[in-house]
């Protein structure tokens, strides 16, 4: 526990210090909320106030950028630069290290989500989410699932250069197709099929159902199941294939 807290403090410091990463993965969803909110915040979208409607999409974009993309990019860079390798020579247990990295990611994502809700309420007259406890559970579930997939994805990337480009090429289009920015309605069917496979759409739908309609998380078993299955698959993959050392050594 002492080691976990020590590493968590270190990881939080590293997160705050890495400006580029913090901007792209943490601030960008918040920035998009402000931009889109200024344009559509007071309009009515699908029967809801624009500001309220945007919240679930931006939280969805946030989970993909913070928990999935940010985590995957950091781990690939650390692995390829030999930082993970060096850590393996210290007494810090692998489990403790991963736990601290995951906790940092979760904290960043949750702080981001709270900022999104707070800004929607204060700047654009949005409403407080309807079922806050269910929402909190859904956020933790989503954060864990996307972080697990993020760790799993590191096994496909072999160089730190280009890692962030490859990751961005996956999650940014997927965010659009999953309805993070606009309703999915306008996209052609063959594109939305791709979104139906991945968990992001289900996460956004789940968050929308909870925060807009006031449903509870157990009323959405399909969404929860898809997210959980992806999370478990990512975890299983990460456990079997995760590497601590760069490919050539």
């Amino acid at each position: 526990m002492r080691l976990f807290l020590h590493e968590l403090r270190g990881e939080l410091r590293l997160y705050v210090r890495s400006r580029e990463l913090a901007f792209f993965t943490f601030l960008l969803p918040i920035l998009f909320l402000v931009i889109l909110g200024s344009a559509y915040g007071d309009e009515e979208i699908e029967g809801h106030l624009g500001a309220d409607y945007l919240v679930s999409g931006m939280i969805g974009y946030g989970v993909a950028s913070t928990a999935f993309a940010g985590l995957a990019i950091v781990l690939v860079i650390r692995r390829e630069e030999g930082i993970l390798k060096r850590l393996r020579a210290t007494p810090l247990p692998a489990f403790t290290y991963i736990a601290a990295v995951l906790a940092t990611t979760m904290i960043a994502f949750l702080v981001g989500a709270v900022c999104i809700v707070a800004l929607a309420v204060t700047l654009f007259g949005g409403h407080f989410p309807k079922s806050p406890v269910s929402l909190a559970v859904a956020l933790v579930l989503g954060g864990a699932c996307f972080a697990a997939i993020g760790i799993g994805v590191t096994t496909f990337l072999h160089r730190s250069e280009g890692a962030s480009a490859a990751i961005n090429a996956v999650y940014i289009p997927l965010s659009f197709l999953s309805g993070a920015f606009f309703s999915q309605g306008g996209f052609p069917r063959f594109l939305t099929i791709a979104a139906d496979i991945f968990p992001l759409k289900y996460f956004i739908d789940l968050v929308a159902a909870i925060s807009l309609e006031g449903e509870q998380i157990w009323e959405r078993p399909v969404e929860v199941a898809v997210i959980a299955v992806w999370g478990l698959a990512g975890t299983a993959f990460a456990l079997r294939r995760f590497r601590w050392v760069p490919r050539e050594g």
Binding site: H6, G82, I83, A89, T90, P91, V245, G249
Partner: protein
Amino acid sequence: MSRAVVVEGLEKAYGEVRAVRGVSFTIETGEVFGLLGPNGAGKTTTVEILEGYRTRDAGRIEVLGVDPATAGSAWRERIGVVLQSGSLYPQLTVVEILRLFGGYYERPRDVGEVIGIVGLEEKKDQRVHTLSGGQKRRLDLAIALVGDPELVFLDEPTTGFDPEARRRAWDTIRSLRELGKTTLLTTHYLDEAERLCDRVAVLRDGKIAALGRPAELTGALPPTEIRYRLDGQEVVVRTEEPTRVLNELTAEALRSGVELEALEVSRPSLEDVYLSLTQESPR
């Protein structure tokens, strides 16, 4: 004395490349042991197997009494590592990174003291990305020492050091020896190996070509060499009796009023041994 490292019949191949082919040596506790050899000789492979990073194909290994392939956190408490390559968190300062790594150990050394050992006092509050290459390398050494290890593995630790930093690193390694700690280092600087190591092994093509104290290895070579230039021609004389030969040579030169240009007398160095061992065509 007990043995810090035992290696017997170590083998390791990467596909077709047989990087290590039946290497055996032991390192006594408190010894500074050097692993020399040309690029690709198998030094890093050997060291990283001992550190527990790489698997081996055959052979018996004990590092601090434990097989590194199955060793855990308690064993890692006792070792320190400088890898041949690799970088550090660029956004932390020298002090922060040493506190972070020191915190992984039960009884770390004082961070300020370790910074002093490697001579980074002036840079201690600077971010790692602002350090020069040699300064980063010194930080690598500091990290290897911060856990107060019994055994340190240093894979080309002084590459990129300026002469003063190299002397300082030598002093550090000697002081580790005085504290009874064991060092395994690889280096391409033969003067470094000669001055610092109690014993060295020269690897070639994954096999040990020579093993012993630097003085023993140089003792096996042809004797003293006397070189000078005469009429623009370089002359080299090798002799068992340098005093007599030199006396005759200079007496003759004085008598005939000739100057022996660039006169030089040298004992064979470890470098000569090394070159004679590694330049023979393989097998």
